[in-house]
Subunit: 103 residues, 2 copies
DNA sequence: GTTGCACTGAGATAATTTCCTAATTAGGAA
DNA sequence: TTCCTAATTAGGAAATTATCTCAGTGCAAC
């Protein structure tokens, strides 16, 4: 949870997540959307991956990153649960639907 | 949104929010739960307030802080919307229920 | 008024984060 | 092999954050 909120507490990283909604992208493709050096993008992706918010898969010399939307949703619903009755129902429903996916 | 995730990216601040689930508390009462100097607690509360996650009300020499759970839920649901169809419905439902509460 | 408690502001310091450039690793193609 | 591209690692500078102590402000009770 700590890593998740730390990861989300960065505008570039939230923008990366939004870009990935369109489907898997390589580091260069993501970097082309930003005015930032590629190693910085790579670092941000590592932070997101460490938090479980993206997945990486090597494809030859490329690395494809894709969003782990389910994980993101489960974590935030789980966090919201104590604060909000709505979230409790949804968190339970999501958990029952995919029993082995929690963090 | 930036302020919200920055505020949540801190273990002490998330703990403070959880403590406030029991109802409004003074700064000293909150501080008693932590091994941390009071000015630090005060600072954390200021960050949470700046993010709209808590409200403060002066009561004589005391300052009562209480959680703004609705705001927290609305913001996170709003953030989740692009990533998760569930959140879209809920965010809309919440918004329609309280039309003048968004950030 | 004076004393005491609740809280916040100020200043200092250590740790963390973010970003860069340069160098390195690794894969694919000539 | 040699060259090119993709991505990461390394190293370092600048900014931000977190925390402390100490000083101040405001209220309340004596």
């Amino acid at each position: 949870m700590e890593k998740v909120f730390k990861a989300l507490a960065s505008e570039p990283r939230r923008r990366i997540l939004n870009h990935l909604l369109g489907g898997p992208m390589t580091v260069s493709e993501i970097g082309a959307q930003f005015d930032m050096a590629l190693p910085s993008i790579s670092k941000h992706l590592a932070v997101l991956k460490e938090a479980g918010l993206v997945r990486e898969q090597k494809r030859g010399q490329f690395v494809l990153y894709s969003i782990a939307a389910d994980h993101l949703a489960n974590l935030l619903y789980g966090f919201l649960t104590p604060f909000c009755p709505d979230a409790r129902k949804i968190a339970r429903r999501r958990r029952d639907a995919k029993p082995a996916d929690e963090a």
